[in-house]
């Protein structure tokens, strides 16, 4: 019998060792190795635009450059004019509301609120020339700004009025065009909301040349990916969208487009990808380089010193108070909030009446555990107190940016009533003449600043009873976080009862034995 047991033990040991050594050989390239090798390849430009005659004749107006581009790239103009970068709106289906034409053009946010009436302050980031008012011709291809996105010289710059700065050498820039770089996209997308990292929290100027610690993908000392490596743009239709203005689960740029659904060697980790988005574990914190704006209180705006607007800064140089905008708080290395998200959203639209007793959601991201499309994602929630008309119950669009004296712009006149009247006139909606403020919230999915593997979340940061990252995520039984309190109470009771019984019985035995011995 002993021999058989020994043989069995040795046999099973041998099987374990054999299985272990045949499992995965270290020499096999993993999907990640293949990806790294693919993106390490340098792409050669297919054409040297400096050799094109049409780009050598002196340009006097930026529109001439555009026409030169379109003379070869004949159909690209139509593509751009069908894009959100140009239209600042598109047809979207919002669950519960139906199809609307929405976008940056007409959706409100809780930062600088909205573009209507303020285009002269916003047009710097429109992919066209001269979008300063609603008269802009969206069908005129010569107003497309090709260079804003395709300048590879690093010298292109736009200024007020939505035109190139006077110092820009259009010939030089036109001869050095190519694939968009981080510097092209970042010029607008890193500074949304009127300053570095104000809006997203995960997109900011440190991402121009990020370290590997900040972003494993775009690290200039690492994979050095450009934005468009993930946000591919077939026919100028960008993949990827931000749910501050988008509503539909389509055209998204995802981790899975490169990494697939089963990126880990460990099957148990891969199982998580069904319900947990990659970002949840792999972006442990956002704003890891520079601070992002967490709150914005418009109600304190308008204080003047010697009749003039002023600003206050914190030790890091972040603006904490501005007469034109109010009070801000900032944070770095922020732990995200976590929500279920199925890729669809709805928005506060101009004209919606709100309940001012609780924070108004400027956007709502849908999803719950039972939704097969929903996964847990990390989000930044930006909280604000912003202008509101208690008479009409509307969150209103104020006119902020002024062009001429007396046009009602808040940033010149510091009069909310004037700003509300002028802003809502542009929006085509009433203003009751009563002015107030309402708390609002806005949810921004966190998708960038993917950290090196070693910094990703560990199991016990979610699977724990205390301070679980997912403490607020409902609808799912999370081992380690959750328990059935009845079963646990009964179980503990049973263990205590048995333990106590053993102690009492054992003591009684010891005492009775001693008594009998001495008797």
């Amino acid at each position: 019998m002993r021999k058989i047991v020994l043989v069995l033990v040795l046999l099973s040991l041998a099987v374990v060792v054999a299985v272990g050594s045949f499992r995965s050989r270290a020499t096999d390239a993993t999907p990640l190795d293949i990806l790294k090798a693919t993106y390490a390849r340098k792409r050669a430009a297919p054409a040297d635009h400096a050799k094109f005659e049409i780009l050598q004749r002196p340009f006097t107006a930026p529109q001439e450059v555009t026409m030169a581009c379109l003379s070869c790239h004949t159909e690209r103009g139509h593509e751009v004019m069908a894009s959100s970068h140009w239209n600042w709106s598109r047809q979207e289906y919002m669950p519960g509301r139906g199809i609307r034409t929405i976008g940056k053009k007409n959706v409100l946010n809780n930062f600088c609120i909205g573009v209507a009436g303020n285009l002269t302050g916003c047009d710097k980031c429109h992919a066209g020339f001269g979008y300063v008012d609603q008269a802009f011709d969206f069908t005129n291809a010569s107003n497309i700004d090709c260079l804003a996105c395709h300048d590879n010289s690093g010298t292109y710059e736009r200024t007020g009025g939505g035109v190139p700065a006077p110092a820009v050498n259009l010939n030089l820039v036109a001869q050095k065009v190519g694939r968009p770089q981080r510097s092209n996209c970042g010029t607008c997308h890193f500074f949304g909301g009127g300053g570095n990292n104000v809006k997203h929290g995960d997109l900011e100027q440190a991402m121009f040349e990020p370290s590997r610690d900040l972003d494993v993908h775009m690290a200039s000392d690492g994979a050095n990916l450009q934005c468009v490596d993930c946000h591919r743009a077939p026919n100028h239709q960008m993949l990827g969208k931000v749910y501050s203005v988008s509503s539909m689960n389509r055209d998204r740029s995802t981790c899975e487009q490169c990494h697939g659904n089963a990126p880990h060697p460990d099957a148990l980790l891969n199982e998580h990808t069904v319900k947990v988005a990659c970002q949840t574990c792999h972006i442990p914190a956002y704003a890891r380089a520079n601070a992002t704006k967490m709150t914005w209180d418009w109600s304190t705006a308008g204080r003047l010193r010697d009749g003039k607007p002023y600003e206050e800064h914190d030790a890091q140089g972040n603006i904490t108070y501005a007469s034109i905008k109010g009070t801000f708080t900032w944070a770095t290395n922020v732990t995200p909030e976590y929500i279920w998200f199925n890729g669809t959203a709805t928005h506060y639209l101009l004209g919606d009446q709100v309940d001012a007793d609780r924070p108004v959601p400027m956007n709502t991201l849908f999803g719950d555990h039972d939704d097969p499309d929903a996964r847990i994602i990390p989000v930044k929630v930006h909280r604000a107190v912003q202008p509101y008309d208690p008479g009409t119950k509307l969150v209103y669009q104020p006119k902020l940016v002024g062009t001429v004296a007396g046009d009602g712009a808040y940033w010149k006149q510091f009069d909310w009533n004037e700003a509300a009247r002028e802003g809502m006139k542009v929006a085509g909606l009433p203003y009751s003449g009563r002015h107030g403020f309402v708390p609002t919230e806005m949810t921004w999915p966190v998708n960038h600043q993917v950290a090196p593997k070693a910094q990703s979340l560990q199991c016990n940061q979610c699977h724990t009873r205390t301070n679980s990252r997912l403490a607020g995520v409902q609808g799912v039984y999370l081992p380690g976080r959750d328990r059935n309190s009845t079963v646990d109470a009964l179980g503990a009771l049973a263990l205590w009862a048995v333990g106590l019984g053993v102690v009492v019985h054992g003591l009684a035995r010891a005492v009775s034995t001693r008594t009998r011995r001495t008797a």
């Binding site: 002993r2 659904n261 089963a262 039972d370 016990n460 724990t464 976080r481 059935n484 009964l490 333990g499």
Partner: protein
């Protein structure tokens, strides 16, 4: 009839018993860590080793079941009402008075009626519940998506709660079991028997006796009968 050394527990039986004991102890430790009761190996390692130990235990159970069936040892667990009351009374009263064990232990009947009952419940109820819920836990899949197949269940909650309840019962059994092995002829005679296989037994009568045993040969053994 003087007591003599009898080979009670066979080699495989002891191997099975001790391996199972270690595995259950280890599974309880890692399992309750996963449950969030305490921190020991860290959640990740606890999960990893809990899964490995669970698979080893299931393999062991298959071998043990085979052994029980082929050796007819499964008959040891057939429940009986005979002496059940006497055995309960012994643990509640007799043990404090130095009364003799009401059930005689033999090679063909190693278990007293209470043990038969408890072990049978363990084997037919508690362990199957823990194993089945554990297997569901292991192969549990969300509604299959993204090429991952397997069992589709809408949530872990029921599985996890049943598994936890079973674990509590097993630990409760473990505590009582560890204590009760000290109630043999001497404090350590049962422990020694399960380690060496040999135990001092009085005779080799096949069935438990329902009538009191014949008068002991000497007063010394009367106070410490085999259980």
């Amino acid at each position: 009839m003087s007591p003599r050394e009898v080979y009670v527990y066979k080699g495989f039986e002891r191997f099975w018993h001790w391996t199972q004991a270690l595995l259950i102890l280890f599974l309880a430790l890692t399992g309750f860590e996963i449950h969030g009761s305490f921190s020991f190996l860290g959640f990740e390692q606890a999960v990893r080793y809990h899964r490995v130990a669970a698979i080893v235990l299931m393999v062991l159970i298959v071998f043990a079941a085979f052994w029980h069936l082929t050796t007819d040892e499964w008959r040891q667990y057939l429940p009986t009402l005979t002496n059940l009351r006497a055995q309960a009374e012994y643990y509640l009263v007799g043990v404090f008075r130095g009364a003799p064990h009401p059930t005689r232990k033999t090679v063909l009947s190693k278990l007293n009626p209470l043990q038969k009952l408890v072990y049978l419940q363990l084997k037919l109820l508690v362990i199957p519940v823990v194993v089945v819920s554990g297997v569901l836990y292991l192969v549990y899949r969300y509604p299959a998506r993204g090429g991952m197949t397997g069992l589709s269940v809408d949530g872990l909650e029921t599985i996890a709660v049943v598994h936890t309840a079973g674990a509590f019962l097993l630990v409760a059994f473990l505590i009582a079991h560890v204590y009760l092995i000290t109630t043999g002829t001497t404090l350590t005679s049962n422990l020694r028997a399960m380690i060496t296989g040999y135990e001092e037994l009085h005779d080799d009568v096949a069935a438990p006796v329902s009538t009191p045993p014949p008068a002991p040969a000497s007063p010394a053994t009367a106070n410490a009968p085999a259980r």
